[in-house]
């Protein structure tokens, strides 16, 4: 589904990703773990098309499309979704209006008719329940004045509504207390399906107690240095990230 080969990317003159390989099949959930500064967020951003990164080598293909050639909205229209580590506040942009614009953009790209107001509202209410969100959220501006937990839930709520084929969850657990974490994780789990793949980027093993990955990768210094099953996450939890430098030095 997603195939990343030898990906190298810079921020300014500094190389952050240094030849990264990753293969993700349909329905698979891959956790990417690593210390701060290892390139986790850069990977999320490069895959979703954010400005400010220069890809110097390698490729990223999604269902046969060269992702790196596409605008962010084209990637989204193919079925890619990024749950932001820091969801952006959009003062003055009404949530309902935003959700409708997003959903209809995706439907249009797929050649489907726009949803009418009644069908849209019914759909929204159903998805709100999954994330234990109150429908007062719909009247507010996107993320504006939301608490940290609300913002993260709003990300997963959008994911539930937009039903992407491939989701990247960028440190969705950061800043969440245990109750909020559980709600977010339940939301994510409800969206797991044999057709939907995910990358779960996290610093801590904690999230993986709730979202059980099929594979775990350790990202360090811009490369994946180890891959394994979910037991690798437990090992990391025990050993921390200190061993990485020792191993790389060896």
């Amino acid at each position: 589904m997603l195939s990343v080969k030898g990906l190298r990317a810079n921020v300014g003159d500094k190389e952050i990703l240094k030849g990264l390989d990753l293969e993700i099949g349909p329905g698979e959930v891959h956790a990417i773990m690593g210390p701060n500064g290892s390139g986790k967020s850069t990977l999320s951003h490069v895959l979703s098309g954010r400005d400010g990164y220069t890809v110097t080598a390698g490729s990223a293909t999604f269902e046969g499309h060269d992702l790196l050639e596409l605008e962010p909205e084209e990637r989204a229209q193919l079925g890619l979704f990024l749950a932001f580590q820091y969801p952006v506040e959009l003062p003055g942009v009404n949530n309902t209006y935003f959700l409708k614009a997003a959903l209809n953009s995706l439907r249009k790209a797929r050649g489907e008719p726009e949803l009418d107001a009644v069908a849209f509202l019914r759909l929204i209410k159903e998805k709100l329940k999954i994330l234990h969100l109150d429908d007062s959220l719909l009247k507010r501006a996107v993320n504006a004045g939301f608490s940290g937990g609300e913002k993260k839930r709003n990300e997963i709520f959008q994911m539930a509504l937009l039903e992407p084929k491939f989701a990247i969850l960028d440190e969705t657990d950061s800043g969440l207390d245990i109750d909020a974490l559980r709600v977010v994780a339940e939301g994510v789990n409800a969206l797991r399906s044999p057709e939907r793949s995910m990358i779960v980027v996290t610093h801590y093993q904690r999230l993986l107690d709730y979202i059980q990955p099929d594979y775990v990768h350790v990202l360090a210094h811009g490369r994946i240095i180890r891959s394994g099953g979910k037991e690798l996450a437990l090992e990391l939890e025990e050993k921390g990230y200190g061993w990485i430098d020792a191993e790389l030095a060896a």
């Binding site: 989204a76 990024l82 952006v88 959009l90 003055g92």
Partner: protein
């Protein structure tokens, strides 16, 4: 005999002679004219005119309209009416009150609304103390020019405790004539103690005509009076627009004004507020959108002359293409005006490299126990925000438009009538496509 005014401006004063014959009124007109001939034209060395040149305005050689336009039919208004908006509607055509196009409807007891010219004919004495009450012997050049050419306009008078539920809609309709013409309407709004009203003032045109409006509105709010005022400047893109707004507030009165500026080629708006009773409140919101070939210039002058009043000014600007705007806001807190509360903000979103904004919020504070703040921002669309929308599948141009509308929405949402709000949102949306 008066000396001629500079640059042919006496041609702005060729008012028809069929108006009411009132010695005191003539005296006022002549007095204003005498003050003008003694004064130089506004020029760029003056702080208030630093960023705005009169050159293009004077080049047009506008002349006063000598007779009312009678050819309009009520259906000519169809294109300018706001669907679903029910109002006490007054229409001025080229500065002259047009009762045949107006729809005043039934007014509750204690509410009088009518054309200034008629009023001066039938009940001149009631206006004697009202004309120039808020304006005073203003130094403002174009407001004085308006006084010198005083002819027609609108009078709204609410007696003590009168409450008008339905909004008053003042449509200032301009129709292009063979030569470039100027209209100088004067509006008087007087709310006596405890009276309440909503006034929606609209500047519109038939077609993209070239003309000039030089309007002055004087508002006096008595004790506890409440006025909600929305001004929609949607003139022709070839028009020149000057408007002076002069507000006097008594104790515990509330004024809230929303200024929307979308139209005109060259527009200059002066908003002046003076508190003369304590515990009064004045809130001024504004939204201007200046695009190619437009200059929109706003000057605010808020004077805290007495203690314990509150003022808030919140203006936002969207600038596209080679659009230009000026925001010059001044809050003056007099020495005796302790416990004044004043907050002024001006935020601008620049949508092109060629657009220009000159912004200058100023606080002049002579009292020592006040709460005052001012702030100004000039920025672009945040790349973060744009990326967020695009990552959800929304294409870049729609995303930009959503963010601009969101920025403008914070002002548009303050408009109190849904039909008006939608009308303005649609007009702003159209400008952003």
């Amino acid at each position: 005999m008066n000396a001629p005014l500079h640059s042919g401006l006496e041609y702005w004063l060729n008012a028809p002679d069929d108006g009411p014959d009132l010695a005191w009124l003539d005296e006022r007109r002549h007095g204003a004219r005498a003050r003008l001939s003694a004064r130089a034209l506004p020029h760029s060395k003056q702080e208030a005119w630093r960023y705005t040149s009169l050159k293009s305005l004077l080049e047009q050689q506008f002349t006063a309209i000598d007779e009312p336009l009678s050819a309009l039919q009520p259906e000519d208004l169809d294109t300018v009416l706001i669907p679903g908006f029910e109002s006490h509607r007054l229409v001025l055509v080229n500065g002259r009150y047009a009762p045949e196009l107006s729809m005043l409807g039934e007014l509750p007891a204690g509410v009088r609304i009518g054309g200034l010219r008629d009023w001066l004919q039938h009940d001149p004495e009631s206006l004697r103390g009202q004309l120039d009450a808020a304006l005073g012997d203003s130094e403002a050049f174009f407001a004085t020019l308006n006084s010198a050419g005083l002819d027609d306009g609108l009078v709204v008078w609410l007696e003590r405790g009168a409450v008008l539920e339905r909004p008053i809609e003042l449509i200032h309709l301009s129709v292009g004539l063979d030569e470039p013409r100027v209209a100088q309407p004067r509006h008087l709004v007087h709310l006596e103690a405890g009276a309440q009203a909503r006034l929606i003032e609209r500047y519109v045109s038939l077609g993209e005509a070239l003309y000039c409006t030089n309007a002055v509105m004087e508002v006096v709010l008595g004790r506890d009076a409440v006025l909600k005022h929305e001004r929609l400047q949607m003139e022709s893109r070839n028009a020149f627009h000057l408007s002076g707004f002069y507000l006097l507030q008594d104790e515990n009165s509330r004024y809230s004004g929303i200024n929307i500026g979308l139209g005109a080629r060259w527009a200059r708006t002066d908003l002046n507020t003076r508190f003369r009773g304590e515990q009064a409140e004045c809130v001024l919101h504004g939204l201007y959108l200046a695009g190619d070939g437009q200059l929109l210039d706003y000057h605010l002058d808020v004077e805290h002359a007495v203690p314990n009043c509150r003022s808030e000014e919140n203006f936002k600007g969207l600038l596209t293409g080679q659009g230009r705007a000026v925001f010059d806001g001044r809050v003056l807190v007099a020495k005796s005006a302790q416990k004044s509360d004043a907050a002024m903000s001006n935020r601008n979103l620049m949508l092109s490299e060629q657009a220009e904004i000159d912004t200058k919020p100023q606080l002049e504070i002579y009292a020592d126990d006040v709460r005052c703040s001012h702030g100004t921002t000039v920025g672009q669309i945040e790349p973060e925000m744009l990326f967020y929308l695009r990552s959800r599948g929304i294409d870049a141009s729609q995303a930009r438009r959503m963010l601009c509308l969101g920025f403008a929405g914070e002002v548009i949402d303050q408009l109190g009538v849904e039909a008006v709000r939608e009308h303005v949102a649609a007009a702003v949306g159209q400008r952003l496509t």
